[in-house]
């Protein structure tokens, strides 16, 4: 048989894969075997397909927003339509892409494998979680197709509970339902990580990806129910015209904000912690060095999860919370920045005296570090109360969170997808195209969002359909960047799909990476491990003599 092309930069001695064997992908081709699967790997693939669809939808709404903002007048879309576009961009991206993205795809696939288990603790609950996600998505799509929602993804009352005439109810129901998908995933991860680790796999031998998902799962379980009940109350108010949050009926609109942000702030840590786990795995592998400061990175994930629950009030600095409350939330918001900074320093220190190569996953990881740093630093700006009064609800905030959500979370997602693509699908992606796409994403992203910092400080408010003329040049720059970013996103979509059929066949460990998942064939068999592995060492054995031999170029 012809020897398939394999990327041999790292691993010239890996074995040539044999003819097709039973993997989780080809174990059964029937539709029902997919729709009724309890295999965590198949569920991960189901999630992957779903979130990509939602990402595309959310991206189209963003495209509409950016196109409208090319000109100062509201001339492309009507005001109501524009308001619906940014609302639905936010709802879809936050609840249906970012929150599930890494945990439900890479997490579902890898958590059992990384700890040497055959599946998650509750496989049927895992499948239920996907169906709940789809059901919630269906309701939200119904809201979109039925005319859209225009409340902003933050649903502030009394606009959302009383004044908006858009499809608030189906959207609220959709988000309420999808929340349970997160809760079940988090529950599954927590129990799995506690109870199903392979023999010898103590807590401080766990890969940092697992620590990150553990911390994220804590937030899933503790935070999501609060937004569920809050959305439930808004729905109740809308349906029955009672006054929980509407002051005209005796309620308090600021109470909504407290309840909403009690979840939605920790939610942003749900969106970034898994990405940080991915970056830790990639950096250490492509620098061929154990991660610097393992325990600090591990514990910082838990610290972020815990501290993330006590800073929500920094979203209410202008909302009439008391001066004392504002100051307390401000100081805590600075404290929560420190563990993130510690991670960044540790990642950079990992590069020191490494042997670094620049495959696409590494490019994404390095890009993450730069962009997350900028996003995180601008978070410090916002945590300073006196400063926040000026930039709250302006494009400064929009830029800040996109630096973290896109520059951070999306880049980590893409990096992780590329890193584990060979494991998941048994194929290598085309490296040159992947590198090009990573660079295009980086350039497009910065061009899109850096001008927005300037726009925000100038005073351009968020959610503006039309704006004063003097803001146009910066808006045009931003839209230009967005079109480049779109190209950067389309490329992986195309070549990753292409690689499923035409990509080089991957060995079990094309990156010569540490981790139990790399001990299995690519793609793995349904049961993951023929025998439960036994762990006797720390997670990252890069830089050892064995490693030297493995990567030595012949």
């Amino acid at each position: 048989m012809a020897v398939p092309a394999i990327d041999t930069t790292l691993a010239p001695h890996t074995e040539v894969p044999a003819k097709p064997r039973k993997t989780y992908l080809n174990a059964d081709y029937s539709v029902s075997s997919w729709l009724l699967t309890v295999d965590h790997k198949r569920i991960a693939v189901l999630y992957l397909i779903s979130i990509i669809i939602f990402f595309a939808l959310g991206g189209m709404f963003a495209a509409g927003v950016r196109l409208e903002l090319l000109t100062p007048k509201g001339d492309l879309l009507q005001a109501d339509t524009y308001n619906k576009f940014f609302t639905m961009h936010g709802i879809i991206m936050v609840f249906f892409f970012l929150v599930p993205s890494i945990p439900a795809t890479l997490g579902n696939f890898l958590v059992p494998m990384m700890i040497g288990a055959r599946d998650l603790a509750f496989p049927r609950v895992n499948l239920l979680s996907w169906y709940i996600y789809i059901l919630g998505g269906a309701f939200t799509l119904a809201a979109v197709i039925g005319g859209g929602v225009d409340t902003g993804w933050t649903f502030y009352t009394p606009y959302s509970s009383t004044y908006s005439t858009s499809n608030v109810m189906p959207a609220a129901i959709g988000i309420f339902i999808t929340g349970f998908s997160s809760i079940l995933t988090g529950l599954n991860f927590i129990v799995t990580i506690h109870r199903m680790r392979a023999p010898g796999l103590t807590w401080f031998r766990l890969p940092l990806f697992i620590w990150a998902h553990y911390a994220t799962s804590l937030i899933f379980v503790l935070g999501t129910p609060v937004i569920a009940i809050t959305i439930f109350l808004v729905g109740l108010e809308r349906a029955l015209h009672i006054g929980i949050f509407d002051p005209a009926l005796g309620g308090d609109p600021v109470l909504f904000q407290h309840l909403f942000w009690f979840y939605s702030h920790p939610a942003v840590y749900i969106m970034i912690l898994p990405g940080m786990g991915v970056v830790s795995e990639i950096i250490t592998c492509f620098a061929r060095k154990p991660i610097f400061g393992y325990s600090f990175i591990a514990l910082s994930s838990v610290a972020i999860a815990v501290l993330g629950f006590i800073v929500w009030g920094h979203h209410l600095f202008t909302s009439s919370e008391s001066v004392y409350a504002a100051l307390i939330f401000s100081v805590l918001s600075f404290v929560v920045a420190i563990p993130s900074a510690v991670k960044v320093f540790n990642w950079v220190a990992t590069l020191y005296r490494g042997a670094i190569s620049f495959e696409a996953p590494m490019l994404y990881a390095l890009g993450f570090i730069g962009l997350f740093t900028i996003g995180g630093l601008t978070g410090l700006f916002l945590a300073a109360v006196g400063f926040d009064l000026h930039v709250h609800d302006t494009y400064f905030v929009v830029a800040h969170f996109h630096y973290i959500m896109v520059g951070g979370a999306v880049l980590a997602f893409l990096g992780g997808l590329h890193f584990w693509w060979p494991k998941m699908f048994g194929r290598m992606y085309p490296e040159a195209a992947a590198k090009a796409a990573a660079v295009i994403v980086f350039i497009g992203f910065n061009l899109t969002f850096f001008p927005q910092f300037i726009l925000g400080y100038l005073g351009m408010p968020r959610r503006y359909h039309a704006y004063p003329d003097e803001f146009q040049v910066l808006n045009v720059l931003s839209t230009a960047g967005a079109s480049i970013l779109a190209v950067g996103y389309l490329m992986p979509f195309c070549y990753l799909l292409w690689s499923l059929k035409y990509g080089a066949v991957a060995s079990s460990n094309p990156w010569q990476a540490s981790g139990l998942e790399w001990l299995t064939p690519s793609p793995p068999p349904t049961e993951n491990f023929a025998e439960t592995p036994i762990v006797t060492q720390d997670p990252y054995h890069y830089g050892t003599d064995d490693d030297a031999e493995a990567v030595h170029v012949a």
């Binding site: 005001a79 009394p158 900074a341 042997a355 670094i356 630093l377 400063f387 959610r463 030297a548």
Partner: protein, 347 residues
């Protein structure tokens, strides 16, 4: 600062603006330093320690507790400096100076209605004098809005059902953008206007002018406030107090169904359940709209509610009128429910 034809930095037109900008520059400096350090290290290490035939494997360095402590404590210290600076600014922004020129602001979908205490009112425009503090007392008729003047670095939410305040001291004559900065529906981006800062003399002249038919600036979604005229709010409030028959139960000398309101504003009121409350704007407003919520000790819960019968402007006028009711001699602490021979109650 303008580059080519578009600005990259907002004007500084208030006393707070340079203060906020100094913090901004400090934050930028810190960010630049840290970004360069991190990016520099990242790029430097990536280049210096790239994989080559001679450099195939990294060195097994696991960590350094000293470094971890250092790069936790130093950034923490820096963030505490930023916190302190931001807190100091915020406290200043939260405390309007005394003797501020007061303006009452009502936000509604999708316009701003502004009332000077001397009588003039404006829609989507606010004339203010340069060099004098201006205090805004704000409320919304419907959803949450926010009053934002970038050139002053001033912003605060405008909430339905309660009053919020903001203040500024304009330093440069000119016209500056006014934006709504809390999404409020269809015409959110049309809920804009301008602040017109005038020399003090010109402002005084403007204040005492008979207003023309109200000039509309910016899109107007609905008809402007009904009654014309430049009655001061206190006078308008006095008229309302009589017209709505408040005077029936709130006689200045007391002894009627309700407590006298002379000297009430600002005092500590004892309630029927034993608790006390300070009679501020919110208390007066709540007492009019939801009278049985807080009953004054010694009185029955018989006051009817005026919910839905008064606009926010009318509520403000009543508050201003009640605020102006002072006993002679000046009342001390506490409410005189039956003040002895209270004298004038007119403004």
């Amino acid at each position: 600062m303008r580059a080519y034809d578009f600005p990259l930095f907002p004007e500084q037109a208030s006393t707070m603006a340079p203060q906020v900008d100094y913090l901004y520059f400090f934050l930028i400096a810190i960010s630049v330093v840290f970004s360069i350090a991190i990016a520099g290290a990242l790029i430097g290490f990536a280049v210096k320690f790239r994989r080559t035939p001679e450099n195939q494997v990294g060195h097994r360095i696991h960590g350094s507790t000293v470094l971890e402590v250092a790069w936790s404590i130093i950034p923490f210290g820096i963030t505490m400096v930023i916190f302190g600076w931001g807190a100091w600014l915020f406290v200043a922004q939260s405390r309007p100076p005394d003797n501020a020129h007061e303006v009452f602001v009502v936000g509604k979908q999708w316009m701003w209605k502004l009332q000077h205490m001397e009588g003039r009112r404006e829609i989507n425009e606010l004339h203010v004098p340069v060099g004098q503090a201006v205090k805004l007392t704000m409320t919304s008729e419907d959803v949450i809005h926010a009053f934002y003047v970038p050139a002053f670095r001033t912003k605060f939410d405008v909430l339905p059902g309660r009053y919020t305040t903001a203040w500024f001291n304009a330093t440069k004559p000119g016209e500056y953008h006014l934006f709504c900065a809390e999404y409020c529906g269809t015409q959110h981006s049309g809920m804009i206007g301008k602040i017109v800062v005038m020399e003090p003399a010109a402002f005084q002249a403007w204040l005492s002018e008979t207003p023309p038919i109200l000039p509309m600036s910016g899109p107007v979604a609905s008809a402007a406030a009904g009654d014309a005229g430049s009655l001061s709010p206190v006078a308008a409030g006095e008229a309302l107090f009589a017209q709505k028959a408040c005077i029936t139960c709130h006689q200045p000398q007391g002894g009627a169904l309700g407590p006298s309101l002379v000297g009430v504003y600002g005092s500590t009121v004892k309630l029927a359940d034993g608790s006390t409350v300070t009679a501020d704007d919110a208390y007066v407003r709540d007492s009019i709209l939801n009278p049985t919520g807080k009953i004054v000790a010694g009185f029955q819960p018989v006051m009817p509610t005026f919910q839905g019968q008064l606009t926010e402007e009318q509520l403000m006028q009543l508050i201003q009128y009640i605020k102006s009711l002072k006993a002679t001699p000046p009342a001390g602490a506490g409410v005189a429910q039956n003040p002895p021979a209270a004298a004038d109650s007119a403004s």
